[in-house]
Symmetry: C2
Subunit: 322 residues, 2 copies
């Protein structure tokens, strides 16, 4: 078995260059631009660790590991166009640097390359890996649409929010883990267990991400604190605040939504988030989901030491210590 | 064996509705908008006819036939955004009707659905069908990039132009035919022959399309005559004109490129196209490619009557009588 660090090193060595064709430049320079912004490789690592845990050949899992990373980066390129984002990980976004058409087309070809690498595996794995991946891709696009729809709605329910982040964020973690399990010859039940591990890990992560956006320390979070509050974004934390508020607090919240003084708005909304108990309820929910994710992993019939590397990565993701 | 009409009818009956999920509406309404503009179903028909010719089960080929149509429509949605096109088959384009973000995301999910339908076939066909399709998709994006690159270049060679239209247009016809052949259990050599049939048929078609843009009858072509000339588009016809022109004709051509009077420009350039012999050379090239496409089909070791339906469709495509 490998440590996460060893798998990370092998992954980086394999995919440090020449993963796409060279020409036409107008197509592949934008692709290489986004792919050269080094991410944390969470999805490839989850895939490789899951494969290794079930005793699979991690060499054979490297291409699909790259595929989920390429797919993830494709979604970032198109999402950045839709969100009109100028910066990503401190660099200009693809459409900002190369133009919108380049961003659209680079994303498209990345999706095709994701499928190319995904299926560069022993043929008997291809049908199952394909169906898991394609179902996931469809859910991710549905999640992105829900997210855009929620911007103009004020009545988003907690269940709807959870479904949105499940689709937009969690399913790709779950898919990466499940593909790793498939390549490790895991049975349907084990695949399902590790899929649920990823789903709940992702939900917990995203809910904590929303918490940090309001209550984190600016430096550690790496972005402006209170951004979601200023945009009246309907996060789990925000929706909980609205549901737990009494009439007076609801009135204050509604007033603050239109407050133009940024500091007043952020301070006021955060006060309501704690006063209503939404802050604590949100932490509790995230912790529950994290515990539930680990429970899915525990119930897989493998010796504890086989699961250790994956548990450690989950813990790092949960603690944002990666 | 089936006639093209019978296969068309079965295809339409199977895919007349409910091919995508219903929710979220913001995602699937744009998808249904483009898919409801009835096309000629050339790619699905090529796939089904090829499958039938090799004795395959056309029932099993219906899903991949739909997949190539969904993929083709996805490229139209994204190309229309890149080309800033407002109308498609007389209807508002997706981004025009639903906004750019909807166009980008609808295209993305259509690509995922194309893979979903493509692989809804007996599992032993999946690996080969996947690799043919994904390679084709990558080439199509490369072709679209070349096409955009050519807009700002004046030195496009004939070979480059042919490569561009091969990638942008022909490979999907060739891919559709080859997938049909795979599903008909054709061997590698037969797959290659039918692939080349599609490649050259597509090249011939596109070169004739360029000819019609300049010399066709407005009503029959269904678009404004001379549009390519007005945009100084580097078609096979245009590049040939430039290459065959003497110094005086070259000077005239260069002057006409900046002519603001539309009628003068179109009339003048068309005159040069015939005077230089480019018009005749272009017709000759298209005819040669069409003959070469049929030759690939003839060399497949099957009784002539098996090939008849496919030859008839090729003839219709060539005559634009479909």
């Amino acid at each position: 078995m490998y440590t996460a660090q060893e798998l990370y090193t092998r992954y980086e060595a394999r995919f440090s260059k020449n993963n796409f064709r060279e020409s036409p430049n107008g197509l592949y320079n934008p692709v290489n631009h986004i792919m050269s912004m080094k991410g944390k490789r969470i999805r490839p690592l989850l895939l490789l660790l899951a494969c290794d845990m079930f005793g699979g050949d991690t060499d054979r899992a490297l291409n699909p590991a790259f595929a989920v990373e390429v797919f993830h980066n494709f979604t970032l390129v198109h999402d950045d166009i839709m969100d009109k984002a100028d910066l990503r990980r401190g660099y200009p976004t693809v459409h900002q640097k190369f133009g919108m058409n380049a961003g659209i087309l680079a994303g498209d070809v990345m999706l095709a390359y994701a499928y190319k690498y995904l299926t560069d595996i022993p043929v008997h794995f291809i049908p199952k890996v394909m169906s898991v991946f394609t179902e996931t891709a469809i859910q991710i696009f549905e999640g992105q649409q829900m997210d855009m729809d929620f911007e103009t709605r004020s009545d988003v329910a907690l269940e709807e929010y959870l479904k949105m982040i499940e689709y937009k964020t969690s399913v790709l973690l779950a898919c990466s883990l499940q593909i790793g399990a498939v390549l490790g010859n895991a049975g349907e039940q084990e695949q399902s267990a590790i899929h649920h591990f990823g789903l709940n890990l992702g939900l917990s992560f995203q809910i904590k991400d929303d918490l940090l956006d309001a209550f984190g320390e600016g430096e550690k979070v790496g972005k402006k604190i209170g951004g979601d509050i200023l945009m009246n974004k309907k996060t789990y934390l925000y929706i909980s605040t609205f549901h737990l508020a009494n009439e007076e607090q609801k009135a204050t919240l509604n007033r603050l939504m239109n407050e133009s003084d940024e500091l007043l708005k952020i301070t006021g909304v955060k006060q309501l988030m704690t006063d209503t108990g939404a802050y604590n309820a949100t932490i509790k929910k995230a912790d529950e989901l994290y515990e539930r994710s680990l429970a899915s992993l525990y119930k897989i019939s493998l010796p504890a030491e086989k699961k250790q590397a994956l548990i450690e990565l989950a813990e790092k993701i949960n603690q944002r210590d990666y």
